[in-house]
């Protein structure tokens, strides 16, 4: 197209390419520099690493810290906790690996200048809960970004990575990534010996509760566009547990965090009549999931389930009784900082609705579902485990390498290891970064081969949404309605509606079934076809078009995994109406998928869950 005749492809050759500058990516950058002093290490990010990723806003707590120095917890304890919360299905080797290393990350954060609250009596970090510590975390991300900037050979901000590149000579080996600059519109080709994908999980896969301006106030960042999965699965990486979407019980509309209120301040949730519904519904939960109902603490999904049952019974609104615990100025400050550090919008909800938490309780609600690998959920890539403790069939090479040679992952990218949060994602980035260095050193003299014809085809595909718009826009007078293209937002809203109505979103109280999923897949398939007809009127909209693409591919994986798992494993996250019970005989296993791009086919299988810790 003549409009883009000035496009000039930029080539970047590097040893290690890190895609995504959030906590996983910053950890990978730091660690790969520590071990690979002479290597070229490149970090690429679609926004600005100073404030990017899920922690852009800040955080009020670090949710994964053992405290081994004070004998508080051992890694095995953490594995038991995460396994219990995920109803038995986790990669214990990966979780153990993060847990044993995470303290060294957190100690570095403190050395770098992160203010961590202390218990005045013991001098230890102030515990919010057994695994969580309280921080003054407004600048958590800028501090970590400083460490990454000082480690990378180069940081490329505002580059939207759209595809991974595969080696043209060696099958199933990664060779880099391609994308474009959201600022000047130039295509970027990164050729790399190893790639660490540390991109984000997915918000806006399912229709959010707020759909006007408020659709931006999703619980998880609106810029978390599921690129972790959109990039990997199209490269043929094996993915697991994609059905394991997460639903969060949070303060209504603002989605402010509840952890500090429940755990540190000791606030209680109750239904509209003041009843403790969780205790009252225990027997009902036990009938549904058996022994898993007795897990301590109660799994996140089951707590959601109890709240949902209350709402269905008309016993809402559900209230968090903040007013009963804010009896000192110190506690009031903790309560407010909890929001101001990481969810300012919740403070605005209180100010606008005249809610003073010292006097008035606040509504809680369950969110729309999200797809991620770092919270109380573990979607993501199947990865090789730690050399010294992974079971043999979980180990095929370098720690955190996916089933694609040279392709590593961290944070939301890696499946099966829930409860990483910020510190664990950074730590997993460190693990992947060190592995990538070892891979590159072992592969010395064997640079990746990229086919020029493949590049030209990708380049054309990347800019097609702008061509679609340029051509289609000429046919109409004005406005947003055209016969030949839809905008990225129009595509996103169709995706959210399909996922909401057929795959277990809020409108069906998270219920789905085989017939619903099969119908949803028909509609999703047409949306995937329509991705060829997205119209982007600007580079910003071109970014949105590719975010949509990553979300649609991720959504298809979510749908297919949900269809494959014929049980209800996580009531409160979603329900298979046609298989309403947890079924350990058949489904104490990971669901795994691999997309074959050449044949355009998905293969779904089961993978074994090994319990290596009692």
């Amino acid at each position: 197209m003549s409009l883009f005749s000035s496009r000039k492809t930029r080539y970047v050759d590097t040893d290690i390419l890190i895609v995504g500058g959030g906590f996983g990516g910053c950890g990978a950058t730091y660690e790969s520099r520590y071990w690979g002093r002479d290597l070229n290490i490149t970090l690429v990010e679609k926004a600005n690493i100073e404030r990017s990723g899920a922690v852009a806003h800040g955080l009020s707590a670090i949710n994964c810290y053992m405290g081994m120095r004070w004998g508080e917890n051992q890694p095995e304890d953490f594995v038991r906790y995460a396994r219990g919360d995920l109803m038995g299905l986790v990669r214990e080797d990966l979780i153990f690996d993060i847990a044993r290393h995470v303290d060294s990350s957190v100690h570095k954060f403190e050395e770098w200048g992160l203010p961590i609250m202390k218990d005045p009596k013991t001098g230890h970090y102030l515990r919010e809960g057994r695994w969580q510590i309280m921080i003054h975390g407004e600048s958590y991300k800028p501090i970590i970004a400083e460490a990454a900037r000082k480690s990378a050979s180069a940081v490329y901000n505002r580059i939207m990575v759209t595809h991974l590149l595969m080696d043209s000579m060696i099958p199933n080996r990664v060779a880099g990534a391609v994308g474009f600059s959201v600022r000047d519109g130039n295509p970027y080709v990164f050729r790399a010996k190893a790639v660490v994908v540390a991109a984000g999980g997915g918000s806006h896969i399912f229709r959010p509760r707020s759909v006007g301006e408020g659709m931006g106030r999703t619980w998880y960042a609106p810029w978390s566009s599921a690129s972790a999965y959109g990039l990997l699965l199209r490269a043929g990486a094996k993915m697991i547990q994609m059905e394991n979407r997460i639903v969060l019980a949070r303060f209504k509309d603002g989605y402010g965090p509840v952890g500090a209120w429940f755990l540190l301040l000791g606030s209680k949730a109750a239904n509209a009549y003041g009843d403790n519904y969780e205790a009252a519904r225990f027997e009902e939960l036990k009938a549904l999931v058996g022994k898993y109902a007795e897990t301590k603490p109660m799994p996140t999904c089951l707590r959601n389930h109890a709240m949902l049952q209350e709402m269905r019974a008309g016993n809402g609104p559900i209230y968090m009784h903040t007013q009963s615990v804010l009896d000192t100025r110190e506690k009031e400050e903790i309560g407010w900082e909890d929001f101001l550090d990481m969810t300012v919008g919740q403070a605005a909800v209180w100010a606008s609705q005249n809610i003073d938490p010292k006097e008035t309780p606040s509504e809680l609600i369950t969110s729309e579902p999200y797809v991620m690998g770092s919270h109380a959920t573990c979607s993501g890539a199947w990865a090789s485990g730690p050399e010294d403790c992974a079971p043999a069939d979980y180990q095929w090479g370098y720690n955190r390498m996916t089933t694609v040679d040279g392709l590593f992952g961290a944070g939301d990218t890696i499946g099966g290891s829930a409860h990483k949060f910020s510190s664990g994602s950074f730590t997993e980035g460190r693990i992947a970064g060190k592995s990538a260095v070892r891979y590159v050193l072992d592969m010395a003299g064997n640079p990746p081969q990229v086919d020029e014809a493949q590049l030209r085809a990708l380049e054309q595909a990347i800019f097609k949404p702008m061509d679609n718009y340029t051509i289609g826009r000429n046919g109409i007078v004005a406005g947003s309605v055209a016969p030949g293209y839809i905008s990225p937002l129009q595509g996103l809203q169709r995706l959210e509606k399909i996922m909401d109505e057929y795959v277990g979103g809020i409108s069906t109280f998270y219920v789905t079934s085989a017939p619903m999923l099969e119908r949803g897949l028909e509609l999703l398939t047409m949306l995937r076809e329509d991705l060829d007809h997205i119209g982007a009127d600007s580079l910003h909209q071109l970014q949105r078009a590719w975010e949509l693409s990553h979300r649609v591919w991720t959504a298809e994986a979510v749908l297919r995994h949900t269809l494959f798992r014929q049980e209800t494993r996580w009531p409160g996250y979603y329900y298979r109406g046609d298989y309403p019970r947890l079924d350990d005989d058949e489904w104490h296993a990971f669901t795994a998928s691999r997309y074959d791009a050449r044949a355009d086919e998905w293969q779904l299988t089961k993978l074994p869950v090994h319990h290596i810790i009692e």
Binding site: Y30, E31, R33, Y34, W35, R37, K46, A47, R51, A56, H57, M68, R69, P75, E92, F96, R100, H101, D103, S104, W112, G113, L114, P115, H136, E138, S139, E146, K150, S151, V182, G212, G214, G216, R217, T218, A221, P222, W223, E333, W336, L340, V344, G345, A347, A348, V349, W350, A351, S352, Q353, E387, D388, A390, P391, T427, K434, L441, H540, H610
Partner: protein
């Protein structure tokens, strides 16, 4: 709680454009000042508000659920290592808070390459950088039972 920019304060410097994680703060081509091009993709993360040297950016709660008349203002002072908040309620009540943001000077982090280079034994071990020292326990835990 999407952002907006006050016409009389913005000088068009573009700091908000540089920092916005959602790429929604853009410069208006007619007025040469910034504005939020996509309020429904704004997470009200306040990155732009904090970065604005002119204090020209403010937020108004999402129209879907936030009644008018409130404000949440912020002053982030890197040199002091603090952030201060002033919250004004719809009914006029005010709350003020100040919290620390960093305990060390900005730019003071020691780059990983400034540490002594690790040897090949360390490279081939399961230890990460600064371990086991930074763990503050004698050894890295392992799990032989897995093999």
């Amino acid at each position: 709680m999407p952002t907006f920019t006050y016409m009389t304060r913005c000088d068009g410097c573009g700091q908000c454009v540089d920092i916005c994680p959602s790429d929604i703060m853009h410069i208006d081509t007619v007025y040469r000042r910034s504005y939020n091009i996509e309020p429904n993709f704004c997470w009200e993360c306040y990155s732009c508000v904090k970065a604005c040297p002119q204090h020209a950016i403010d937020v108004r709660g999402y129209a879907d659920f936030a009644p008018l008349g409130h404000s949440v203002r912020v002053l982030r002072e890197e040199a002091n290592g603090t952030i201060s908040w002033k919250i004004r309620y719809r009914d006029g009540r005010e709350k003020v808070f100040t919290f620390p943001i960093r305990t060390t000077p900005w730019g003071s982090i020691k780059p990983p390459a400034d540490y002594a280079a690790p040897d090949s034994v360390a490279l081939n071990s399961v230890l990460l950088s600064h371990e086991p020292t930074a763990l503050m326990v004698a050894t890295l835990p392992t799990l032989l039972a897995g093999r």
